[in-house]
């Protein structure tokens, strides 16, 4: 028995040491490394889900929605979960495709990441976000997925808000569109890196892009507790999302509609035309009332992922690049609409406002004849008549003489260049600063520009002058190009007399955007101040409180007095009755509202003329400016002026509509809505 006692004591020592080992190890695991395991446990047990904030609406001046939200049932796939599976989630996708009645291959294409060589459908957003694969799922489909979560790990179905455009394709370029946030953008954002969200979209163009920070709102965060299968068991923590601000614009949906229709028709009736634009500005405030660009498209194509076919179509030349807003990005020679600047320059440079000027059928500029359109000859006329009848030779002469005063081909050390500097004072040649992205600056060519261009190109030109153009097959063309290169190499810096003459009538290298022209006219017929136009008017919190009003900055003042401005306005007021647009406005009730304006016909090498009409009303005390552009539309009076007339008729409700009834006025008094709409606590607009 003593031996057994002794061995029992050994066993006891063994047992005690085992207990001690366990307790010590427990201490080590739970106390020493506890924090570390808490962190790992939280990571395995919880998922941070970004609860997307409802994006703010975009309203028109009286509170009508231009962009709204609509809810839909969205099925999303979390690629990270699928990739962890042995088969890369292929089985899950096959099952999902069956439920959604889609081709499995198409589903697989939708969730791969976009990149070089990977064309749409693909996912342009962050790979850590659940990828929406079907945003028009039925309740039955969603239930099939939610009830058999073990068959569909990584697949979710939830109600999400989607952008909805009540106006369809109207103002598409102005409003812009949304695209999933890219990984790069996500990383730049604070605090969102580790989170994901199926609908983390970012404004890519138009107002959606410019006011993206305000419209976006603040995402909420939901930390959910999941089980081993990734199924949600409970919500551990929740921070509610804050709905984005509502953007009230100065756009008037009804005027917008009128402009869209008029511009579309102008393009349709000119089959050669490859684009058109219409813009309506409030003279008093400098705000944009309507802005349309053709061709256009339905922005709903972006919602829920765009197809490769659709995407390529939007970018293609064949479709006329409907993503590009001609109003702010289209650069065209302004033609005679530019003469307001030239007249101002002449007067500012000392020519008498009420003097007489010769209007021969042709004017000789440095040994080269510059004729009037149609060989028009009016003899001695006033500047008034020069504008009404659009006599080019008056301006050729002014431009040429001005060029001579600056020293001609051998410029003085300090040149005055009255016409280019007046053009700049009218805001041409630089961006208007409108609250829209991607605006073009246009071009005001002067002596300095010419020299800079020559400095940038002379090396190439001088080389070509020696080597010629062996790659051009046609011998005649090659020889011509070589001669041109030689000329450019030797005297490319010279600002020629013909350039000054062309400049005076808005031809040559002068380029303006329809918006630039519109605000120049607004400054002329208004208070003489140049404004940076705004589309956004005010931002409201979802509960209706005002965040801020968007001011229209004054960026310049026309360097001409009121007398000159009134003189020019009075002249333009007769264009629609006695001038170049008289035909287009034949029968227009001028007694009710007199429309002032100026036609423009700009020659484009190798293409049809650009058709312009810049107008304002009421002529006596203008409140609105309407500018219409029809690219390759021919004469200004031929396509742009009739379109502008339709816009004016729509605004004032003049004439009869298609049904033979009196047209309804888009702006009954011709006054844009000035009072801000009242947004109620629930986010709806008080009528």
């Amino acid at each position: 028995m003593t031996r057994m006692r002794a061995r029992l004591i050994v066993l006891q020592i063994l047992v005690v040491s085992l207990i001690v080992v366990l307790v010590v190890r427990l201490w080590q695991v739970q106390m020493v490394r506890g924090r570390e395991f808490v962190a790992v446990a939280t990571e395995t047990r919880t998922r941070d889900v970004v609860v997307p904030a409802l994006r703010g609406q975009i309203l028109d001046a009286s509170g009508r929605p231009l962009v709204r939200n609509r809810t839909s049932l969205v099925i999303s796939v979390d690629r990270t979960t699928l990739e962890r599976m042995p088969d890369g989630g292929a089985a899950v996708l096959t099952r999902l495709a069956k439920v959604l009645e889609m081709a499995p291959d198409k589903l697989k294409q939708q969730i791969r990441a976009c990149g070089p060589g990977v064309t749409r459908p693909c996912w342009p957003g962050s790979p850590y976000q659940p990828i929406p694969v079907d945003d028009r799922a039925t309740t039955r489909e969603a239930l099939q997925i939610l009830e058999r979560q073990e068959d569909f790990p990584g697949v979710t179905a939830e109600i999400q808000a989607r952008r909805y455009y009540p106006g369809g394709s109207e103002a598409a370029q102005l409003l812009g569109y949304l695209q999933p946030v890219t990984q790069h953008e996500l990383e730049k954002r604070q605090g969102l890196k580790a989170s994901f969200s199926g609908v983390d979209l970012v404004g890519r163009d138009g107002l959606e892009a410019v006011y993206d920070p305000e419209l976006r709102g603040t995402s909420g965060l939901r930390r959910v507790q999941v089980d081993r299968m990734g199924k949600q068991i409970a919500v551990e923590q929740q921070r509610s999302p804050t709905t984005g601000d509502t953007l009230v614009t100065s756009i008037d949906a009804r005027v917008q509609s009128v402009v869209e229709k008029a511009v579309a028709e102008a393009m349709k009736s000119n089959p050669a035309s490859d684009g058109a634009a219409g813009v309506v500005l409030d003279v008093k405030t400098g705000r944009v009332v309507a802005m349309a660009s053709m061709p256009t498209y339905d922005p709903a194509v972006w919602t829920g992922g765009i197809s490769e076919h659709e995407y390529q179509r939007l970018l293609s030349n064949k479709s006329g690049k409907p993503l590009i807003s001609r109003v702010i990005k289209g650069e065209f020679a302004p033609g005679s609409t530019f003469k307001i600047s030239s007249v101002s320059a002449m007067v500012a440079d000392g020519s008498p406002l009420r003097g007489t000027y010769q209007c021969p059928s042709s004017y000789n500029v440095n040994g080269r004849a510059f004729p009037n359109a149609g060989g028009m000859s009016l003899g001695a006329i006033s500047l008034h008549t020069a504008l009404v009848k659009s006599c080019d030779t008056v301006f050729y002469r002014a431009g040429y003489e001005e060029w001579l005063r600056d020293g001609g081909n051998k410029p003085k050390s300090k040149v005055k260049e009255p016409m280019p500097s007046m053009a700049r004072a009218y805001g041409f040649g630089k961006r208007t600063g409108i609250d829209l992205p991607g605006e073009s600056p246009g071009l005001i060519p002067d002596r300095a520009w010419k020299r800079d261009l020559w400095n940038a190109t002379k090396n190439e030109m001088c080389k070509r002058a020696k080597t010629g153009y062996p790659e051009i097959k046609d011998a005649g063309r090659a020889a011509f190009s070589k001669r041109l290169a030689n000329e450019n190499c030797l005297e490319g810096y010279i600002y020629h007399a013909y350039e000054a003459a062309n400049f005076s009538i808005g031809q040559g290298d002068v380029l303006v955007t329809p918006l630039q022209l519109a605000r120049a006219y607004a400054a002329l017929v208004g208070d003489g101040k140049l404004r940076s136009p705004r589309v956004g008017r005010a931002l409201f919190r979802p509960d209706g409180t005002l965040v801020r009003e968007i001011k229209v900055p004054v960026v310049g003042k026309l360097p001409i007095n009121k007398e000159t401005r009134d003189y020019i306005r009075a002249a333009l007021s007769e264009v629609t009755s006695d001038g170049t647009a008289a035909g287009a406005f034949n029968g227009f009730p001028m007694k009710q509202v007199r429309i002032g304006g100026k036609t423009g016909t700009a020659e484009v090498w190798g293409k049809r003329d650009t058709s312009w009409f810049a107008s304002f009303a009421p002529a006596e005390n203008p409140r609105l400016v309407v500018v219409v552009l029809v690219s390759q539309g021919g004469f200004g009076a031929e396509s742009a002026a009739p379109a502008a007339r339709k816009i004016w008729e729509g605004i004032y409700g003049l004439g009869k509509n298609e049904n033979g009834k009196q047209r309804e006025a888009a702006l009954p008094s011709g006054h844009p809505v000035e009072r801000l709409p009242v947004i109620k606590q629930d986010g709806t607009v008080a009528q």
Binding site: M1, T2, R3, M4, R5, R7, L8, I9, L11, Q12, L14, V15, V16, L18, I19, V21, L22, V23, R25, L26, W27, V29, Q30, M31, R33, G34, R35, E36, F37, V38, V40, A41, T42, T44, R45, T46, R84, Q225, V226, D227, R228, I233, A234, E236
Partner: protein, 392 residues
Amino acid sequence: MIQQAAVRKRSFAKRAVGRGSAIRRMDGLMLLAVAALSVIGTLLVWSSTRSWSSVEPTGMVKKHVLNLFIGAALFIVVAMSDFRWLKSAAPIAYAVAIFSLILVITPLGSTINGSHSWILLGGGFAVQPSELAKPALVLTLATLLAKPADRTDRPRAISVAFCLGAAGLATILVMLQPDLGTTMVLAMITGGMLVLAGVRKRWIVVVLALGVAGAMAVWSMGLLKPYQVARFTAFINPASDPRGAGYNSTQALIAVGSGEFFGKGLFHGGQTTGRFVPEQHTDFIFTVVGEEFGFLGSATVVVLLGVVLLRSLRIARLCNDRFGGLVAGGVVCWLAFQTFINVGMTIGIMPITGLPLPFVSYGGTATFANMIAIGLLQAIYIRDRPYGGGGA
């Protein structure tokens, strides 16, 4: 005669709980520890199974409590028996155990949760003969090693041979299921009891060598199932296969570690609720203690088990009877091994082995076996002392 009359005069209640009664003569501290472990076990089973069914979240815990009551009844029956009588029951217990183990490997056996160790009784009841084999083997070996002829300090060679034969048969039957954990427990019981019985040191060395050789043979001959090999590989390097065999080990460690000092509170363990660790109510129940009751609770459970083991060892030491001492020693080997393996595997110091935590894990047959074991210890303690002596 006079004494008997005096005894007879006392009421039943007084005889049951009065001074000098069987209950008063039990090891109270051990009973208290077992009761505490059972209560903790019940809470943990509840916590780990309440999410199984939203209709009846307490279904499993109710069954567990029922098992505990049956176990308690078995305990009383065993504890109240004269352990010398139990000695004569040993052959029957052994025969029953072997018979039921054979049944398991016949088509009558059933597979539950991947282990083919069950006999279904119908009505939702099932027994696990390998659990019953543990107390049966303890009794059998003690009987074989405590023959009057072995009352010298060393058992005779013939007794040792019988022991190895009896234990070998049971172990092989368990291995055939296959149940690696119970196989090792049976081996531990056999080895431990032989050592306690006083076999020569060189025999111990020989048996150990045979054991090692046997283990190597099993390993090299590929008798282990691939998942068992994987578990051992994963134990040596859990990172080798974090999604497979190493997963359980890693998740168990995370669950226990994240409990820190006070734990997250009953029902508040996120890892438990999310069922990141499998078999949380049986083999991995210690992860629930670790997460929900923290170091405080885990250490308490370990210490309570330590109390049971040390009190058992005390009974073995105090016992004047060779049979009683061997039974107590065998039980200690059994429970100590199971405790160390079970707790150890959740904190990364032992490989993953399918063994329940004594008195805590869910499992009817295991509960019965544990209670029978405690009953045996108490029976020995009650009977093998002169009245009033021994010092409780």
